[in-house]
C-alpha cells in the first residue's frame, strides 16, 4: 500500500476512534459497516456454516465495541478486527470439539460461490464441483492452517498483515500458508 494511502487510512481510523471515544454512536456503526462482510465471510469459512458465522460475527462486533476505546492503534483496525473474528471463530471451534458443524443441507454451498462468468453449464458444473471440494478441503484443515490460507487467499492480506493478525512471525505465516496449501493440494489431487 502506498505510504500516503496507508497514512490516510490511519488518519481515518484515528478519527473514527476519537469520535467513538467522545461518545459518537455513529462511529461504531461506521466500523461495523466497514467490516461486516469481511468478518462474516471469514467466520463462514472458518466455521463452515452460516448459523455459526452469524453468531461469530455478532460476538466479534460486541467485543470490538467493548474494547474499541482501549484500542491503541498498534495495528490497523482491520487486522485488529480480523484478530477478534478469528479468535471468536476458534473459540467456537474449540467448543465444538474442533469439528466443524457441517450443514446437513449442502445445497446452499457452492452455488452461491461460483459466479457465472459466462461459462458453459459444463464449465460451471466443474467449477462448482471444484469449489465444493476446496470448501471441504478447507474445512478439514487444522484451524491455524485454515486461517492462514484464508487470510492470504480469501482476504488477500499480505504476509506482514497476516503476521499482525495472528501475532506470529512472518516465517510462521509463510509455513502455515504453505502447509495449508499443501494439505489442500494433496486432498484435491486429481481434481485440480
Amino acid at each position: 500500500m502506498a505510504v500516503s494511502a496507508a497514512a490516510s487510512l490511519r488518519t481515518q481510523e484515528a478519527s473514527l476512534l476519537e469520535r467513538h471515544r467522545q461518545g459518537d454512536a455513529l462511529a461504531f456503526r461506521e466500523l461495523y459497516q466497514q467490516f461486516e462482510a469481511m468478518v462474516y465471510n471469514l467466520a463462514l469459512r472458518m466455521s463452515g456454516n452460516p448459523a455459526d458465522a452469524e453468531d461469530i460475527t455478532q460476538e466479534t462486533f460486541v467485543r470490538a465495541f467493548r474494547h474499541l476505546k482501549k484500542f491503541k492503534g498498534r495495528s490497523s483496525l482491520k487486522t485488529w478486527v480480523f484478530r477478534i473474528a478469528l479468535n471468536c471463530s476458534n473459540t467456537r471451534l474449540r467448543r465444538r470439539g474442533r469439528r466443524l458443524a457441517h450443514r446437513v443441507d449442502d445445497s446452499e454451498s457452492a452455488l452461491d460461490h461460483v459466479e457465472d462468468e459466462g461459462r458453459s453449464p459444463e464449465e460451471r458444473a466443474v467449477a462448482i464441483d471444484l469449489c465444493a471440494a476446496v470448501r471441504v478441503g478447507l474445512d478439514r484443515l487444522p484451524a491455524h492452517y485454515r486461517e492462514a490460507v484464508l487470510l492470504r487467499d480469501f482476504e488477500e492480506l499480505d504476509y506482514s498483515e497476516i503476521a499482525e493478525v495472528l501475532g506470529v512471525r512472518m516465517g510462521t505465516v509463510r509455513s502455515r500458508i504453505a502447509r495449508g496449501r499443501e494439505q489442500l493440494r494433496k486432498a484435491l489431487e486429481g481434481r485440480v
Partner: protein, 391 residues
C-alpha cells in the same frame, strides 16, 4: 537425482514473497523439473480455488442483531466504571478461596491484554506474576539475562496452599527485583524474595507460589520494597525506575494465603477487604508513575534445561518435575489445564465469567496486562512484552 523445491518456497513464490535470489532459484529449477512444476500447479490451483470462493453477503437481519447486542453491551457497563478502566462488573460470586496470580489457560493459551491506560496514579495495585520457583537455581540470573534478550520469561503453573492452580510468569521487573534480591540475599539480608520459598512454602502450606510476588496493596508493596531492596536503593528510586518501564493499572486486591515466610521477604501477601477493592475499582484510573514496585522475582530454575519431549510441528513440550509444559506463543503453560479445569480450580462461576475472560483474551492478546474481575475481586496480572516466536 536432483532435489526438489520445498513447498514453503513454492508457496511463497506464488505470493511473490521471495527474495530475488530465491526467485532465480525457483524459476531456474522449475525449468528443468516437471515434478516441481506439477507441485506448483497444484498449489496455485488450490490457492486460486480459495480465492474464488465468493464472498457471501451477510444476512440482512444480522446488522440489526449486532446493533441490538451492542446496545445491550453498552448498557452493561456500570456507570461508575469508566470504559477506560476495563470491564464491567462480573456477575460472579465472591471467590472464597485465596487466589492470586490468575492466568487462565484458555485453550491452553495465556493471553495478554490490558485494560487501558491508567490516568491517575493513586492506587496501583498490581498482581505481579512470579515464575514457578520451586527449583532453586543460582544460575537464574544468567538465564534471565539470556532470556530477556531472546525469549520471554516463562510461565508455569503452581499449586498454592489451598490447591488452586495459578499461572505465573516472570516479568522484566521481576527479573530486576530478583537480581536485586539475590544480591541482597548474598549480602546476608534476611528479607529475601520468594525465590525457592514456594517450594518450602508449599509443603508447609504456609505460602504459595501465588504469594510469590503477586497481588499486593501499595502499602505492602512499599513495605516489601523496603525490605527487599538492596541497601542504598530507596523506594522512590525504585518506583521511578519501575514506573518508567510500565504503566500501572489500578486493581483491587486479592486475598492471599495465610502468612508465609514470603511475606516478610518482600512478597506482598495481604488480604484486602472487598470494600477496599471496591474503592479501588471506583477510583479514577491512575497516571503512570506512582506505582510502587511490588515485584518480587522468583527464578525459573531448571526450566530452560528441562528435556524437550516433543518438538517439530507439535508445540514444544517440556517436562519438568513430572509435569508437562507446552509453549504457546511466548509463554509456557502447564499442559492439560484448559479453561474448564482452570475455572473449577479458580472458582470462576458461570459462562459469563469464562466468556468475559475469553473475550478479553481474544481482543488483547498482544498487550501487557490482564485485569480480571472474578466475583467481587479484581486481579491484575502483568506480563512482559511478548516477543513473537516462530513455531
Amino acid at each position: 537425482m536432483s532435489r526438489h523445491l520445498v513447498v514453503k518456497l513454492l508457496s511463497s513464490y506464488i505470493d511473490q514473497e521471495v527474495t530475488p535470489a530465491q526467485l532465480r532459484l525457483v524459476e531456474g529449477h522449475l525449468g528443468g523439473c516437471a515434478e516441481c512444476r506439477r507441485t506448483l500447479a497444484g498449489l496455485q490451483a488450490v490457492s486460486a480455488g480459495v480465492r474464488r470462493l465468493e464472498a457471501v453477503a451477510p444476512p440482512p437481519a444480522l446488522s440489526a442483531a449486532v446493533e441490538r447486542r451492542v446496545r445491550m453491551a453498552s448498557l452493561e457497563e456500570p456507570k461508575r466504571f469508566r470504559l477506560e478502566d476495563g470491564l464491567g462488573r462480573w456477575a460472579g460470586q465472591p471467590v472464597l478461596a485465596p487466589v492470586f496470580a490468575i492466568i487462565l489457560a484458555l485453550g491452553a493459551m495465556v493471553y495478554l491484554f490490558a485494560f487501558g491506560v491508567s490516568k491517575s496514579g493513586r492506587h496501583t495495585t498490581r498482581l505481579v506474576v512470579a515464575a514457578a520457583p520451586d527449583r532453586g537455581d543460582s544460575s537464574a540470573g544468567s538465564r534471565q539475562e539470556r532470556r530477556s534478550g531472546v525469549e520471554s520469561p516463562l510461565a508455569m503453573t503452581e499449586t498454592d496452599s489451598v490447591g488452586n492452580r495459578v499461572e505465573i510468569q516472570e516479568t522484566e521487573e521481576l527479573k530486576t527485583k530478583r537480581v536485586e534480591a539475590e544480591q541482597s540475599k548474598a549480602s546476608g539480608s534476611k528479607s529475601r524474595p520468594a525465590r525457592g520459598a514456594p517450594e518450602d512454602a508449599r509443603p508447609s502450606g504456609a505460602g504459595t507460589v501465588g504469594t510469590a510476588g503477586t497481588i499486593a496493596t501499595d502499602a505492602t508493596i512499599a513495605a516489601a520494597t523496603e525490605k527487599s531492596s538492596p541497601a542504598g536503593e530507596n523506594p522512590t528510586a525504585r518506583r521511578e525506575r519501575m514506573a518508567s518501564k510500565r504503566e500501572v493499572i489500578p486493581s483491587a486486591l486479592e486475598k492471599v494465603a495465610p502468612a508465609s515466610p514470603l511475606s516478610a521477604g518482600g512478597v506482598s501477601a495481604s488480604s484486602t477487604p472487598l470494600e477496599e477493592g471496591t474503592k479501588v475499582a471506583e477510583q479514577e484510573s491512575t497516571t503512570v508513575g506512582t506505582s510502587s514496585a511490588n515485584d518480587t522475582a522468583v527464578p525459573l530454575a531448571g526450566f530452560e534445561d528441562a528435556p524437550v519431549v516433543v518438538e517439530g510441528d507439535a508445540p514444544t513440550v517440556r517436562e519438568l518435575g513430572g509435569r508437562r509444559f507446552v509453549k504457546r506463543g511466548d509463554l509456557w503453560i502447564e499442559a492439560g489445564l484448559g479453561v474448564e479445569a482452570a475455572s473449577e480450580v479458580l472458582d470462576l462461576r458461570g459462562d459469563r465469567d469464562l466468556a468475559r475472560l475469553d473475550e478479553a483474551i481474544s481482543v488483547f492478546r498482544d498487550l501487557e496486562r490482564v485485569r480480571l474481575r472474578i466475583g467481587d475481586r479484581v486481579v491484575e496480572v502483568i506480563f512482559p512484552e511478548p516477543s513473537p516466536r516462530d513455531k
